[in-house]
Symmetry: C2
Subunit: 252 residues, 2 copies
């Protein structure tokens, strides 16, 4: 078994279990999926647009982003993925990528072959359901990005983004007052649809009014409540259906 030592998929199972109901047997089946570790350098495309992939990419450490692209060449980050996320679970069901996946910092990943994911999903319908649900939550996050980029001003956008990441970093859905954020200001611009220059100014403002500091690839939140208010942030889109009593299972 390739993953008897070293990093394993436990946090993938944890993530799924936060949103879906999995039995011990089902969890074990996921844990025993074969994986191959790999290191991705910063700013290297890991999946290119239009490329057909044969494995999913589970993030152990670092950060990856999904990128869309204008013909003119400007890029837009459409999703961020942190340790514990599978960056492209959707590829199981649609292997030709419609956006690129790139590491924002040096990132360690475990590759899981589609073939094996399909096998587990087929053998355990509840696992397929959990995968489906995970993709749906992903899409809900994506909608929020549309709102953020489409309807909020620059300062609010930045604050909202930092709030989202604070909540997503903690695995208990409690906001983290300090968390690693290994992305450059240019990356932040690509996430928010702003210029890196303007990102810089907004970060300075947020720092000056005592809400957050982003330095040395780490976010430090000084005043969560005010940041949340200013960023117009409400964690429901991350949380809904996640509370223990409300998780569902289609079949028993």
């Amino acid at each position: 078994m390739p993953n008897s030592t070293g990093p394993n998929l436990q946090s993938f199972v944890d993530r799924l279990s936060a949103r879906s109901v999995l039995s011990g047997e089902e969890g074990d089946a996921i844990l025993s999926l074969p994986t191959r570790a790999s290191q991705v350098a910063a700013n290297r495309d890991f999946v290119r647009i239009g490329e057909r992939v044969a494995h999913c990419c589970f993030i152990v450490d670092g950060m990856m982003g999904r990128f869309g692209q204008t013909t003119e060449g400007t890029r837009q980050i459409t999703a961020l993925h942190l340790p514990g996320d599978v960056a492209d679970l959707h590829s199981v069901v649609r292997p030709v990528g419609t956006s690129a996946i790139q590491a924002l910092a040096t990132t360690t990943v475990l590759l899981i072959p589609h073939k094996d994911l399909r096998t587990v999903a087929t053998r355990f319908p509840a696992v397929a359901e959990a995968f489906w649900r995970d993709c749906v939550v992903d899409a809900a996050v994506l909608s929020q990005w549309v709102v953020n980029v489409g309807r909020r001003d620059a300062k609010t956008r930045m604050a909202h983004l930092l709030c989202e990441m604070s909540v997503r970093t903690g695995n208990d859905r409690a906001p983290q007052m300090t968390y690693p954020f290994p992305a450059t200001q240019a990356h932040l611009g690509d996430m928010t649809g702003l210029t890196s220059v303007h990102v810089n100014r907004m970060l300075r403002t947020l720092r000056d009014i005592g809400l957050v500091t982003l330095r040395a690839r780490e976010v430090e939140i000084h005043d969560w409540n005010r940041l949340k208010a200013l960023g117009d942030f409400n964690a429901d889109y991350l949380d809904a259906d996640t509370a223990p009593g409300t998780r569902r299972r289609l079949l028993n």
Copy 2:
């Protein structure tokens, strides 16, 4: 059977079959799902944020949008749904909505109870797979909206949107040179993250240079190639994995 006469789910099966492989038996199981017809008035919220729903909403005629919202009250349309779409298939697996669903014009829908959708999905894993895949394609469209809103200027955004809808309206994925589009300019603003005033000016420009006309709730494309070029549009994100030879099925 409630749907022996009147509108039925055939176009839902067609939509799924364009992306997934379904057997005759599976298709029939979907066709015989119980439905309840309903009429939704323009600008009425059909699902509110945070509300728990117990059925999906298949669109027979009209147009619906998914809306996100700022505390300040401005709205952003994150997705558009046309006849043949199920606007909230994701709700099967995550019934608490994180965005509102609203009709943009008078819309006829068929409500399909989650309970019954779950039953089919459980009985036919390939149907569950098709549902999952549909949600994934939906998410790919969503990513493109992030790119559109985040990185393109107003004129390009409008052109891109009109291109997307042209392709999505046709059921063979060929762009339609003329198609119904029952949304106001204010709605267009909510889709593109612009002001209705600016939407108006951009539409005028596109008309003046001979690319498209939007009048009386109908789009008429005069020059597809130039519109496509100006809108930086490439239909791959709608098409990928859709060509007959490339459709997949996890199990046989």
